[in-house]
Symmetry: C4
Amino acid sequence: MLNIQKRIYELLEVAHPDDTASRVTDFFLFVLIALNVAAVILETVEDLAVQFEAVFFYFEVFSVAVFTVEYVLRLWTCVTDKRYARSLSGRIRFAGSWHAVVDLLAILPFYLPMILPIDLRVVRALRFFRLLRFLKLSRYSESIRIFGKVLRSERSELLVALFVAGVLLVLGSSFLYIVEHQAQPDKFSSIPAAMWWGVATLTTVGYGDVAPITPLGRFLGAIVAVMGIGMFALPAGILASGFAKEMGKRRGVHDVCPHCGEPLDAGDSD
Amino acid sequence: MLNIQKRIYELLEVAHPDDTASRVTDFFLFVLIALNVAAVILETVEDLAVQFEAVFFYFEVFSVAVFTVEYVLRLWTCVTDKRYARSLSGRIRFAGSWHAVVDLLAILPFYLPMILPIDLRVVRALRFFRLLRFLKLSRYSESIRIFGKVLRSERSELLVALFVAGVLLVLGSSFLYIVEHQAQPDKFSSIPAAMWWGVATLTTVGYGDVAPITPLGRFLGAIVAVMGIGMFALPAGILASGFAKEMGKRRGVHDVCPHCGEPLDAGDSD
Amino acid sequence: MLNIQKRIYELLEVAHPDDTASRVTDFFLFVLIALNVAAVILETVEDLAVQFEAVFFYFEVFSVAVFTVEYVLRLWTCVTDKRYARSLSGRIRFAGSWHAVVDLLAILPFYLPMILPIDLRVVRALRFFRLLRFLKLSRYSESIRIFGKVLRSERSELLVALFVAGVLLVLGSSFLYIVEHQAQPDKFSSIPAAMWWGVATLTTVGYGDVAPITPLGRFLGAIVAVMGIGMFALPAGILASGFAKEMGKRRGVHDVCPHCGEPLDAGDSD
Amino acid sequence: MLNIQKRIYELLEVAHPDDTASRVTDFFLFVLIALNVAAVILETVEDLAVQFEAVFFYFEVFSVAVFTVEYVLRLWTCVTDKRYARSLSGRIRFAGSWHAVVDLLAILPFYLPMILPIDLRVVRALRFFRLLRFLKLSRYSESIRIFGKVLRSERSELLVALFVAGVLLVLGSSFLYIVEHQAQPDKFSSIPAAMWWGVATLTTVGYGDVAPITPLGRFLGAIVAVMGIGMFALPAGILASGFAKEMGKRRGVHDVCPHCGEPLDAGDSD
């Protein structure tokens, strides 16, 4: 019994490279998740939704069935993991873990209308919770894990950069509001509204739906744009260098001290 | 007496990490400033301004009261600082310092209409001087200090890059003015007007409100755009590398080899 | 006979730097390819197409003649290369190689209407296959080879970055679809339609044809824009650093100290 | 006589740091050039042109007078420079040098209508040649010299990057032309017209005046946009790193070999 539990747990968890059966399970679940995301996306295209209504429905039922079995099996077998060893309290702790919550949220929207008497409009809104199945990918995707790590390691830099960018956004948008409010009372109706201009400008997206038209507004807007680019490009630069560092580590390219020849980041446990 | 003065001065200044009472004062003032900025922003949304008129008013009175007490206390206690030791001349020098001027400007707009008989429209304009309270944040925000330092240390690089970018902006805009003036006399009415196109293009914001329409104008505009990106991306790059250097220093990562302890960038005196 | 074959093969292949005749052949073919691309481009300008109809036609006939002779000669002489030594099987393998397929596709559209009875509309579409002649450049262009190499060496980094960018694109676009669908049913008609907004925003192109108009949509859109810039700037950064590395190698700047001659990046095997 | 010539030559050339008189001359000419550029720009604003017609006119006469005297003096004194030692042939060679040609072009448009009977419209066009006075700045501006040097030293990298970017631009625009021509025959009227879309997209300027509207066009456009950003960001990156290197050199920050301690770029004559 314990052996079957242990084997199932192994199959469901991310596979060791030479456990072929487990890798097949992972791959199957990975593909099923990807297809689910694709289904949610394509179902919003009205023509497809009407034409393939049955396909979408049966695929949804099949997916929920698989994900439900997966969830139940995980809950049953998690006790073979040292972290969740106790029969009840271990399972409760497991159910509260990030991946388990995601797994539950991925199937709940399907069962909810059966249990609770809910409004049809809410049911429609619940459909989009299926997009949360995307998060199930985070268990299998190395890429997302790498990014999570980069975000954590560059946390303080990112916060500093975002704070300064935020200050610039508020100040720049306020100036433009003061200057342009008279000329375009509909577009620069308030500072929050002017911040839509601010974000579009500082990120250099520049939709063009809101733009200053007075000479002074354009002059100030130009200064904000030039200054802002540097600020908003910073987070991108921080991410890029953090990413390069992380990828270097994974490749085993460790910088070496030119004095003693020892790797510089040996103390950095991965 | 002197002890109380000294203690109040300590409380108001940025706290030592283990002076809990002072940290609480700092935190209280920090939050009050942030709420003030939020209030100025939200008050420009007409619906909110009308609905919460009283809330905004009493919050403003409360804030000004606190900031006034803060300013008076600072002025009273500053003599305990060696830099402003003399009773009168020290206080005058303190009142002329950056932070004290900012503190005064943060409360003056409230008192001005009481003292001077001013136009109602000027009073309305004075409201936005409250945004200057944002600058009070600069005393508490590590992030802003870091940026100030980066800007100073990369001053010469930034000036060179901005000068070249400016030359390109003027030349590019002039060319486009010459070429497009005939076809779009309203949008390319003068070289300063064409510079609005220039800024929008070289920063890659590209609102689309002004764009060349003649084949020659588009050809020249394309060349300016391609050339300009490099120029305008430079300040961003300079800021990013200066920021990375500064953050490295703060982390104490003076680039020292963890094994032999020798600094990796030995010749780099801060 | 074999000598002539060998010499022709040498002439057609990329020249050794001191084989002048072969370099002239390369240069002639390079210029002819470039002119062909220019011709395809200019022929789409109606005025030019009408005015220079004859010029375009005879240039096309001349080009196809040259490229046909080139193709036949390559097929005839390829057996002098060790890789394609066998008379028949070698030639078949050669004909299946990348460059040979490109060479064939470059001339086929001209002959196809003579052999098969095809619709005139298809004939018109076939014209654009001449753009494939652009690919013939890849044999001569060092630049394109360098890029190919950079893309290969940074493959894994690029895939990780693109995967995360893709996840962000899908999630961000889905959020915006959910929020904006009611307000702009024509522009945010489905998630795939919303992804057009997503790409325009995350790449910071920002055409402005699709943009959120509801406050919540703008708020979410702003967050997606700020977050997304970093993600979409990553591939650019990866390419740039890979390119810098590759160019450094080509310059022979194997980062060797000019004084003691020791390589600075000793462990870096190419 | 020769002494006066020599002194005048010194005064006009860029000053040695401790030659105060020469620095004053340089500064005066620098300011005059800057004011001239400002005048050309402001004169295109109709209101200013009408109101300050006399000011602009007398300033122009004054400037041309100064620049003419400067040019004549340079021509007279250049023989004291070893490079232009011979009385006639030296002066001819000097007159053909970059700076001398720029100096002549800066004053010629003023004299031309006096000498030749030219059309009034040509006279109007000649006004803009005064913008060439901007180039006179290149003698005094360190910033522009630094950039010139960076452009030269990164020449090969920039060419490779621009070539690949050009290939992508042509291919991407052609694809979009083929796909969108039917749907928007006015905007995607030819491949050159589609290249206006291409430049706006690949530089991420995105005016929005031309954008794909068919699903296939948007799909291809999205791919081109994502791929293109990397390519068009490359020149910016190359410039930035070249600029950082050059500024580092000027600061005397030479990279040092970790093996022998000698500076790595000692052999690189500045």
